[in-house]
Point group: C2
Chain length 629, copies 2
């Protein structure tokens, strides 16, 4: 079975090797690569000519150069269908969410035009659909609306929105460029589920207030409730094509029906609020609107930062999920750069924050999209709307927009996922619910802060409280497992075998010292009460210890001293490369010596058992040593 040349070294299990010294720079480079480039994207560059490398490099940086050369008519047919479908969502949703952000409806349309084009050039996902989202809209409206009123100073408010979008883009692109995407991983799925659920509930309640103001128009309410109940199905309709098409067509259909209803009944003269006049024409440049001199610049920056982090986490996760389904790979950091450029360019062309939207991407996926061309098709459809079709929205009742928002929000209240969290991991459930209640009862920033803080606290606890177990021997084997997990595992007389699973570093060293001491005390108490061979050896299985720092080495030495004061001996089993290296560099290894370190628990137990027998029967040398097979 061996792949390497068979150098059978029967002695090679006798000693744990001390790792050879590598030059510091080499180790540093390797660590940097592990941290920032775990997927090794430059693997493909090996063994290529310079010209090839330039081409591959350009294709890596600008993904459209990768898929466009291989584009064909079949792809185009699929992408056209998908693009038109998501455009039918983009137009009503774009206007609705802009309303949520206290922005003019036209800005909602603009926002679904330019950013999608930028993404088609720079983005890695074949399925992601781009547009403005409810979460970002409500965050902007909340945080910016506090410092500048969108009703009293709409021009200034619009400026701040574009400025916040610009900052969001800068932050997204910077994080992506610096390969700091792993920081976004800290926003766990549990946090996002709770946070989004809270935002959804908040938005629904807000929208319902508007809706309920129309209760005396029974037929309006009926239409609304009919539409509402039709849309109260879940959006997770990947497996039900009929439901899928109903859901996909629903927003546009309701807009058309609502507009026709108002037009023919002249309901706008009876108090039904409508969108009103919309200018024709494409996105005006908004470079001059960027309010860098504004006194509210710091608020714009903070808003952009917080919103960017939330939508980026979602957008990258959406791209990855669909890439998994279609079996291709999406680099999170590259996506972040694409999102960043989308928003930077968007902020200069009258667009506000955009990202990848889950529900729209699901529609795009189910409608059969093949490449990011679907976003270009959608953008062109929006362009046509802007150039020719805006008068059609004159009579569209705002209540239809509310129902579109509510429908989308209901899809964000993922009670099944929350129940799954409760079942599988209660800490995740607590994080999720805390985030939810923070959003609902305080505000979105509070909810997000609570979620992130609890997640960080969980990380700290993971590192600060490594798991420890008592190991016992599985009968008739050389295998040692946790006595808590395997009921049949039997402890060895006179020897306490402990396993440490986790890092021995500054955060955990005090805890480990106390915990190991306590294990020893408990074992001594047990022996005292039940009788039996007194404890003479403590074996620490450190195979699960991935990381050690100077505090960790210190605590190992302290524990050794504590154990030796009790006339016992400490033995290490299965130390990894990093632990061996640090022990060697700190000279700690000399205190353990050859009889203090073994590559397996079994060998350590054998050696200690032999010593025990020699101590019990000093005259005899017991040849009954277990053989290593």
């Amino acid at each position: 079975m061996a792949n390497k040349s068979s150098v059978v070294d029967a002695e090679c299990t006798a000693k744990v090797p001390i790792p050879a010294e590598k030059p510091f720079l080499k180790t540093f480079k390797s660590n940097l690569k592990e941290t920032f480039f775990p997927d090794d994207p430059f693997r493909m560059f090996k063994a290529q000519s310079l010209k090839q490398r330039i081409i591959l490099g350009l294709q890596y940086l600008i993904p459209i150069l990768q898929w466009l050369p291989n584009y064909n008519l079949d792809f185009f047919k699929s992408d056209i269908v998908a693009g038109i479908t998501i455009a039918s969502l983009a137009v009503p949703q774009g206007i609705s969410y802009a309303n949520l952000a206290s922005l003019p409806p036209l800005v909602g349309l603009y926002t679904n035009f330019v950013p999608a084009l930028v993404y088609a050039v720079m983005g890695s996902s074949k399925d992601l659909a781009i547009g403005n989202v409810a979460v970002a809209s409500i965050l902007f409206s909340d945080m910016l609306g506090k410092v500048v009123s969108p009703i009293d100073s709409p021009r200034e408010y619009l400026s701040l929105v574009f400025t916040a979008t610009f900052f969001a883009g800068i932050i997204e692109a910077s994080l992506g460029f610096l390969r700091l995407g792993f920081l976004i991983d800290l926003l766990s799925h549990a946090t996002i589920v709770g946070f989004m659920g809270g935002v959804a509930v908040t938005v629904c309640l807000q929208q319902l207030k508007g809706l309920l103001g129309l209760t005396h128009f029974t037929h309006k309410t009926d239409v609304v409730s009919v539409l509402h109940s039709t849309f109260a199905q879940t959006h997770e309709s990947n497996r039900k094509p009929a439901v899928f098409w109903i859901n996909a067509m629903a927003p546009l259909t309701s807009v058309i029906l609502g507009t026709l209803l108002v037009y023919f009944t002249h309901a706008e003269n009876h108090g039904v609020r409508v969108i009103g006049h919309l200018n024709k024409g494409l996105n005006p440049l908004s470079l001059t609107d960027l309010a860098f001199g504004s006194p509210h610049l710091s608020t714009a920056f903070k808003t952009g930062a917080i919103t960017a982090i939330v939508v980026m986490a979602e957008g990258v996760a959406v791209g990855r999920s669909f890439a998994m389904c279609k079996n291709y790979h999406v680099d999170g950091n590259k996506e972040m750069i694409a999102f960043g450029l989308m928003n930077i360019v968007g902020s200069c062309t009258s667009c506000y924050l955009t990202t990848g939207i889950f529900s729209r991407t699901a529609v795009n996926f189910n409608a059969g999209c093949k490449t990011a061309m679907s976003n270009i098709v959608m953008a062109i459809a929006v362009m046509v709307t802007l150039l020719c079709l805006t008068p059609l929205f004159h009579y569209t009742p705002l209540v239809v927009l509310s129902s579109i928002i509510i429908n989308a929000m209901l899809g964000l209240i993922k009670y099944e996922e929350v129940f799954h969290l409760w079942k599988v991991d209660k800490f995740d459930f607590v994080i999720s619910m805390s985030s939810f209640f923070g959003v609902v009862f305080a505000n979105v920033e509070t909810g997000l802060t609570i979620g992130v803080t609890l997640s960080l606290l969980r990380l700290v606890l993971i590192v600060a409280r490594p798991k420890t177990f008592v190991l016992g021997n599985l009968p008739n084997t050389m295998v040692y497992r946790s006595t808590e997990q395997y009921q049949c595992a039997q402890t060895v007389a006179g020897i306490l075998i402990l396993q440490i699973e986790g890092p021995i570093c500054f955060a955990s060293s005090n805890y480990l010292r106390e915990r190991v001491t306590r294990w020893i005390h408990e074992e001594e108490d047990r022996i005292k009460s039940s009788g039996g061979l007194s404890l003479q050896y403590v074996i620490l299985d450190v195979g699960g210890v991935g990381c050690v720092d100077t505090s960790g080495i210190s605590v190992l030495e302290e524990v050794k001293k504590l154990i030796e004061r009790k006339s016992m001996k400490l033995v290490l089993a299965n130390p990894g490369n990093e632990l061996m290296k640090k022990m060697y560099l700190s000279k700690c290894i000399e205190e353990f010596g050859q009889e203090g370190i073994y590559p397996t628990v079994a060998e350590a137990v054998n050696a200690c058992t032999l010593m025990l027998q020699m101590n019990l029967n000093p005259g005899e040398v017991n040849g009954d040593r277990h053989n290593n097979v």
Copy 2:
């Protein structure tokens, strides 16, 4: 060898048990205990009568009730010698550090009286010596001196100092009471070494300015330089009694010599600044001075909080180190409560921040202290000084105080430790140096923030980047080890064995998916170039995975899907209790089934090898299965 009754279950290695469901409350209680009471201090309460429990409880809460009943004359003799010795340090150092904090010298004396008495009642360490410290003094002077000038408004400044001390005490006591001491562990030793070194350098430079202002008095400079060079020995003189006594007596001796010199030469008339008149009398109450109505209350709170955290980490660490030497245990959280009470009571009796001081504790230890009575003796000596001896300090030159400070500071510049950090763990070295430069080139808050941030970043990286290894078989054994660590480990044809060491949670799940995928790609590339059996099985050794959450379960399922798309199979080896439980609750375990999970890597390899052979030679059933011994 077996301790448990010999239920030899030859089959017990065949299956990994699914942990029995425990009531949530029981698990929650057990986790809380692990997190907050790792040393299980209530162990002694078992099997005790109610009266005994009350007595033990009181002794636990008020440590003096534990050692005072067993006090005897021998202890008292040792404690008197130690107490007088540390009092000879307390008086000059107390006045010097008060000077550093821009406080009147009397406050320095007050501060070495009351808090030591409180510690003697509430503290757990037998060796810890209490007093004011340079770090706290300079933090107060820096942070509070920014908002209120100690020269222009000394009364208001003093109020703020007492208020900050009060808040520090509240925070210390609260953290201790809530058993949140593990948060202080996050202030790693590397951070503290760098931070303290930076503070020491800053203080020395400040003091040297004062000293250099006297260069035209050659004999003064000579005396100073002579004293200075005498004291420039290291304080780490635990093994050199002669040097120890010189160092211990040096501050008081220099005060006496300096005072006599000024007195006889009337140097105070020639520009040498002296302490001047000090009132006789004990600590006045300062309750009314607590400035809760001040506009600078938030600064006082912030100062108290930051200072408390820094000195608490040091104080607890000092207590623990000496407890290790004398082989007794000190509960960090109880010490924090003691420090908190010390400062709360102190703030009401004209004392500012105090804590356990390393150098003074070393003197106490070497002078032979037996219990915290040494602190009471020291306090009484300071009381006598306050009541009778303050006129003696009238002619003490301030330059002597500066030299005392510089001498103490030099002991804080631990270049040997920094070199040790460089040798053993470069990340710790970077944290240390960043903290150092932050303090020296910016200010103390910046240095501390940098140190803590880098430490937290290290924690995040530990969790977000678990280690992964390729495992190979150690010849002639059933043992599988990392091929990187053991050169003789041989990989198995057709099977890729990966080990994951670290948590599979939200912070690491994306990374692990990318990394495992990359290992598979690299193995496929290697097989393609070198020829050999194509990869058909991937075995994940998850024995080192301590923590799993819902994101972790998701990523396991994703990796399984990815592997199955390549027509390979994923097998898990040695999952722990937590992983099995979460897989069971999330129904993920059904996807793996019995042929997907094994208790050891060896068994997994055996099973896969058998399947490989059956695939290669479908007609034959190969009976050559490795036996589990």
